[in-house]
């Protein structure tokens, strides 16, 4: 098999690549959980370390609402947060193509510094490599943090009855990048943001969060499917409840795309104990980056993800197949 772009889409082709190549040889009880971050026990049995890594290859490097640097910090911070972690420190690896202008590079690094400050963490180790190319830039970041004592947050912790909340409008980042690439003029900004304020507020109010997941590649539909599979439950969400910006809907209409399959970079999906759902929604809405949060549905017994459509029927929401591409037909 030859790798192509669908293997990086976050959909089914990505899962198959991970299963057949990576998990097949590197698999172990931590990696196999396929969480946003691995949770490792320390010698002191009460303490657990969360560890994650992510690489950022976006073009263009600078876009409305952010750049690759902000993305690289927010992505890793949010992956740590998703396990109920206090981020401790990050590392960064820069792979720079020849031809890169240091003014541009510096701008990206300043944006990283700002995002780190906002997230309340720092980069403690870094590496630089230069390769042949045309002025491109790739960034890998890894992060570690402590998992708060007593918290059991994870993809397999979801229970029937849980309420599902998304922390804001769907598809913004993907729509922003596509607009740049397809040269469509609009005001859609990437939502790249560190969600530490929001997650800390929920935890400090003792909200019983069963699972959280950063809504990135593959979009809400793909991520919800992954969570349901890990917890052996099903989910029922309501089309009418899904928060999507009008301009993102417009772009999706033009390009024949579905916001349910488009990624964000600063949105979290929460599965919350039924008694805490209303309180959690209030907290998220008043937290930074949570203004457009919405309750979207419930967890149920069974398998699969279902959507109540605008005509009142129920349909299955599968994971993303292939790359989410503009289509004409």
């Amino acid at each position: 098999m030859i790798i192509n772009m669908t293997h990086g889409s976050g959909g089914q082709a990505t899962s198959e690549l991970i299963r057949d190549v990576f998990a097949a040889h590197l698999g172990n009880s931590f990696l196999n959980r396929m969480e946003d971050a691995a949770v490792l026990p320390l010698d002191n049995k009460h303490q657990r370390l969360a560890y994650t890594t992510d690489s950022f290859v976006v073009t263009p490097l600078i876009f409305k609402g952010g750049d690759i640097g902000r993305l690289a910090i927010c992505g890793t911070v949010n992956d740590l947060l998703a396990m109920g972690t206090v981020p401790l420190a990050l590392s960064a690896g820069f792979i720079i193509e020849e031809g890169m202008d240091t003014v541009l590079l510096q701008g990206i690094v300043i944006s990283m510094a700002e995002a780190l400050k906002e997230a309340g963490t720092k980069i403690v180790a870094a590496d630089t490599k230069v390769i042949e190319g045309r002025g491109g830039l790739y960034i890998n970041t890894s992060g570690v943090g402590y998992v708060r004592e007593g918290l059991e947050i994870g993809a397999s912790q979801i229970k029937p009855g849980d309420g599902l909340i998304v922390s804001g409008t769907l598809g913004d980042h993907h729509a922003c990048i596509l607009s740049h690439r397809m040269e469509i003029d609009n005001d859609i900004e990437s939502d790249a943001a560190p969600l530490n304020g929001m997650v800390e507020a929920l935890i400090s109010h003792n909200i019983r969060i069963h699972a959280m997941r950063d809504i990135t590649r593959g979009g809400l539909a793909t991520i919800l499917n992954e969570l349901c599979e890990a917890s052996q439950v099903s989910a029922l969400i309501d089309h009418k409840a899904l928060p999507v910006k009008e301009s993102v809907r417009g772009l999706c209409g033009i390009l024949g795309l579905d916001p349910l399959y488009m990624g964000n970079e600063g949105k979290m999906l929460f599965a919350i104990h039924p008694e805490d759902v209303n309180k959690a929604l209030d907290i998220i809405k008043t937290a930074p980056y949570g203004q457009s949060a919405a309750f979207i549905g419930h967890v149920k017994e069974g398998k699969g993800v279902y959507l109540t459509t605008d005509t009142g029927s129920l349909r299955t929401l599968p994971v993303l197949f292939g790359e989410g591409l503009p289509r004409i037909c």
Binding site: M5, Q12, E16, E183, T309, S313, L325, R327, C329
Partner: protein, 350 residues
């Protein structure tokens, strides 16, 4: 009252003879899935997807030619996004790109005019697939390119016309009525279906893409079929008129002539394609005839699926060796193909 609630109730309660209704438009297929239309229908109403997804019906050999252009020096293969994942005999456009092929995804073919002017040493080969809605866009591109004396734009033509395919399906005798493609009808006009409607005595309903519109069209076809009447009904007059878009038709006539065309899953259908007229021949990317290659895998029943004879899950390959990540036949190729949709939505009701 003709409220949507009463239509939904009637569609669920329908107990008459089993009707097979076909749409022939990839956007209808997609909208039917998105609005959950099938879930409202009685088991006596079969809703099937015909050969309306231009990506699905494009022969595998065409993809190979497109790949070849992508890998040719000083050439860029230009395409809509949905062609990227269609498998050819030897790989798809993704693989071509991973082998260094130059591929540009666009929304508007006319955006090629600026590109071609700015990069005179690069030849832009447009993967020109689609039906009558997209054909005028290609015709306009060619006319403008000629006006601007641009010599570096070519069309790799596989444009198809839907009426000959609908006629082939009517000949197979499997369909009780058509949901007519909304945007093709905008170009061709509602009157274009009248000869087929009269000859085969089947109902044709033109409609848009919203949930209530689709439900109304299905209800209309059921009502007509139950009463044994047949007519062309236009439920989309905000966009579709009787005679269609005359300017678009004239432009197509100026640039194209009908030709035979090969359909993935259906084979050769006479007069079902559009070729460039001789005076525009220099915009042709290739003279070779791109045939369906007969590489349908053993047991693949795409032809029966496209003509509405069977449901996707009645094909022996479905969901076993034929899945969206390794499609064996035309209908699984695109997420808008009949099998792709059945697979994606958990193959529940027909």
């Amino acid at each position: 009252m003709a409220g949507i609630e009463s239509i939904i109730h009637a569609l669920k309660a329908y107990k008459g003879r089993t009707l097979t209704l076909m749409e022939v438009c990839g956007t209808h297929t997609s909208a039917i899935m998105k609005h959950g239309i099938r879930e409202h229908l009685s088991p006596h109403i079969r809703l099937v997807s015909g050969p309306g997804c231009p990506v699905c019906v494009t022969p595998a050999a065409y993809i190979d030619v497109a790949v070849r252009f992508a890998l040719t020096e000083n050439h860029v293969l230009v395409t809509f996004g949905d062609m990227m994942k269609v498998p050819g005999v030897n790989g798809d456009l993704y693989e071509a790109r991973s082998r260094g092929g130059r591929i540009k995804m666009i929304y508007s073919p006319l955006s090629l005019l600026d590109l071609a002017r700015e990069n005179p040493d690069t030849t832009y080969v447009m993967a020109a697939v689609g039906f009558e809605t997209t054909a005028p866009v290609y015709a306009m591109l060619i006319k403008k390119a000629r006006e601007m004396s641009l010599k570096n734009i070519r069309l790799l033509l596989a444009v198809k016309t839907i009426l000959p395919a609908m006629e082939a399906i009517l000949e197979a005798g499997t369909v009780d009525g058509f949901i007519c493609p909304g945007h093709v009808s905008a170009i061709l006009g509602a009157s274009v279906y009248e000869p087929l409607q009269k000859r085969y005595n089947k109902p044709f309903t033109i409609v848009g893409f919203e949930g209530p519109q689709l439900l109304s069209a299905i209800h209309d076809l059921v009502q007509q079929a139950e009463r044994g009447v047949s007519a062309v009904h236009n439920l989309y007059p905000s966009v579709v008129n009787h005679q269609g878009n005359k300017k678009a038709q004239a432009l197509m006539d100026e640039v194209f002539v009908p030709c035979h065309a090969w359909w993935r899953g259906l084979g050769l259908i006479k007069g079902s394609g559009l070729a460039l007229k001789d005076e525009y021949g220099d915009f042709n990317a290739t003279q070779e005839e791109i045939k369906e290659d007969g590489t349908l895998k053993g047991g693949c029943r795409c032809t029966d699926v496209i003509t509405g004879k069977i449901n996707p899950n009645q094909c022996p390959l479905f969901g076993k060796v034929c899945t969206p990540t390794s499609p064996q036949g035309a209908c699984m190729v695109s997420s808008e193909g009949a099998c792709g949709i059945w697979y994606g939505t958990g193959r529940t009701s027909p």
